[in-house]
Symmetry: C2
Subunit: 354 residues, 2 copies
DNA sequence: CTGAAAGCGCTTACAG
DNA sequence: CTGAAAGCGCTTACAG
């Protein structure tokens, strides 16, 4: 019977086991504290010593154990993403952005979808962040707008970066997406095409983004001397069904709008359905502009004109800000705090008839 | 100036700090080893002792530090999901399923999108799993089909559960999705409607799922005494564009097929475009059936008939199998190893003309 | 610039 | 059924 306990071989390295800081220290003939200094980029190591140690680290393919490091640091190398955005494309793009920012680091991404309405929401988040001793969290909307959550995170001293349509926090803790610019672009696009009877279907105004998109939109209309009449201004729920309903009401008006700007693509898809049901064609009878530039935008018929936010980059910027706290280079970070939506014109918007 | 070092208060509990196993041990007047036994559900604790300790744990809201536990166990409490599926809905649903299985445990989900074509793929995965000492990984297709990856995981002794269309492994390490049943259902649905000229656009046959869906489909056709003629059998790439191309070729045939079954919804959306381009209506001129029942299926016009797999449940089952390895209840686990696709009939399929 | 000691919060052997 | 000792692989705090 073969012993299962791995025995040290002649060099003191154990077979099949990853090298530890002790192995490196022994081979380099220094203390493990000095190896630790090299791992952590401490300036207090002689260049010669550093090179020697680095060479051995590289040769053995040593990588410090994040668990042990975390235990000693009293902080893990896990970055959390806490979100309640229901759009899969949005979620996946942002996850990828965060992961891209972590590439080459020893950080990992832990995800946490949530429901802010859940009575245990705050307690759950606190337990999660505290138990995992998260290095930090990325907060996309609408979680980023939850001041109670922010308070909890502050209490337990967990760094965060908030992604939101307006600056809710200091630049170090923010990625600002300026959604109102997207609304403005939508308005400009439609007024330039010659529309004057333009309606809006907004998301729930409880969401900052819905409010900001609407604000930018009315601002853009104003530039062209137009207003958003009350009967053309409908609040819906960011869902397909609510879009259908709101659009049906708008299209029944006389005179009806010749263009509709929707707070997101889901509701724009709802307009497509309502238009078909009413026997109206897009863009012949009514132009439609969405927001998100989701995958659906280029699968619908006709292709949907939509406003696009660089979701991936927003995630990447947010994670980069978090990671930057390791080293002191805030200055560089602050350069990339803002992002601006862009309109992607497709087939669903055209000049009005006549 | 206030000292930042938290001072022990009269009870020996430190302000603002979470209790540790030592605090529990002291309060319960037992050794920390005994507390550890309670945490780990060891049977070797007197009932009375256990209750006393449990009460104190509950009272103090103690939760063991996963980092410290992991370090001692030489294994973390992180479960990885390694995937290359490009469909956001699929990814998000499966993530949610895994998270639901972990609810109430101290496991967390670490995600890892990847590219199997990348020359560093295997090395990266090995480094990732080894460094994080993952408790286990969930492998959806097509990662689940990569035998080189499986070999790496075996080498470094990392448990895994593979999700695939056929049994590639023993039940403990598998969730089988029986994609061929979905193909068969699609064929039955179309033949029952009266179609006899039925075409297929498959994904790359390099993917097991593509092969299985096609296999089930031809089997279903055979039940009705039909064959899949070579000119009606096209291999595409699971993408929208490849679907457009394959469909355009099919619809140009004389006589053309009256129905097309697609290996996924993306390609089915491509058929919609090709049909419009050819001036053909769905389902009037051609019926379409997809696979995935993605969100798009209920946003396209007309609504897409599609085959649905319980993605969420597949993730949940896979994670449950992984977690079950903690305790010995394999028997219970094996009950839930299989899943079967279902057809969701909508508007895009109808009886052929005449 | 470098190191010996103590500790992060747990568990695994080993005793009893 | 219970515990004292040693250890998981790192870092902090203190010396020098």
């Amino acid at each position: 019977m073969i012993s299962r306990k791995p025995r040290p071989d002649s060099e003191g390295e154990r077979r099949g086991k990853r090298p530890t800081i002790n192995d490196i220290a022994r081979l380099a003939q220094v203390s493990k504290k000095t190896v630790s200094r090299v791992i952590n980029d401490s300036p207090f190591v002689r260049e010669e010593t550093r090179e020697k140690i680095s060479a051995i680290i590289k040769e053995l393919g040593f990588a410090p154990d994040p668990q042990a490091r975390g235990l000693a640091f009293r902080r893990s190398f896990l970055i959390g993403m806490i979100y309640d955005n229901p759009t899969p494309q949005y979620v996946v793009n942002m996850q990828q952005g965060i992961l891209d920012a972590m590439k080459g680091t020893s950080f990992e991404l832990v995800i946490r979808p949530c429901n802010r309405q859940d009575p245990h929401f705050l307690a759950d988040m606190r337990a999660f962040v505290e138990r995992q001793k998260l290095f930090g969290v990325v907060l996309p909307p609408s979680v980023s707008e939850d001041e109670r959550l922010i308070q909890v995170l502050d209490e337990i001293d967990c760094p965060y970066v908030r992604i939101a349509s307006i600056a809710l926090d200091e630049p170090d803790a923010m990625v600002v997406t300026h959604d109102h610019v997207g609304g403005m672009e939508a308005a400009r696009h439609l007024t330039r095409l010659g529309h004057t009877r333009i309606a809006h279907i907004s998301g729930p105004t409880l969401f900052r983004s819905a409010h900001e998109r609407r604000r930018g939109f009315t601002q853009g209309l104003a530039e062209a001397g137009l207003k958003l009449p009350k009967e053309f201004d409908r609040e819906a729920a960011y869902t397909f069904e609510s879009g259908v309903e709101a659009a049906a009401a708008l299209l029944a008006l006389k005179p009806r709008p010749t263009a509709i700007f929707c707070g997101n693509d889901e509701m724009a898809a709802g307009v497509y359905k309502a238009a078909r049901d009413a026997g109206l064609s897009i863009p012949g009878d009514v132009s439609v502009v969405g927001f998100d530039d989701s995958a659906m935008a280029s699968r619908l018929y006709p292709l949907l004109t939509s406003v696009k936010l660089p979701i991936h980059d927003m995630g990447e910027m947010a994670a980069a800000k978090l990671i930057a706290r390791t080293r002191e280079r805030r200055a560089h970070v602050q350069e990339k705090t803002e992002v601006v939506p862009e309109l992607v014109a497709r087939e669903s918007s055209a000049a009005p008839k006549g």
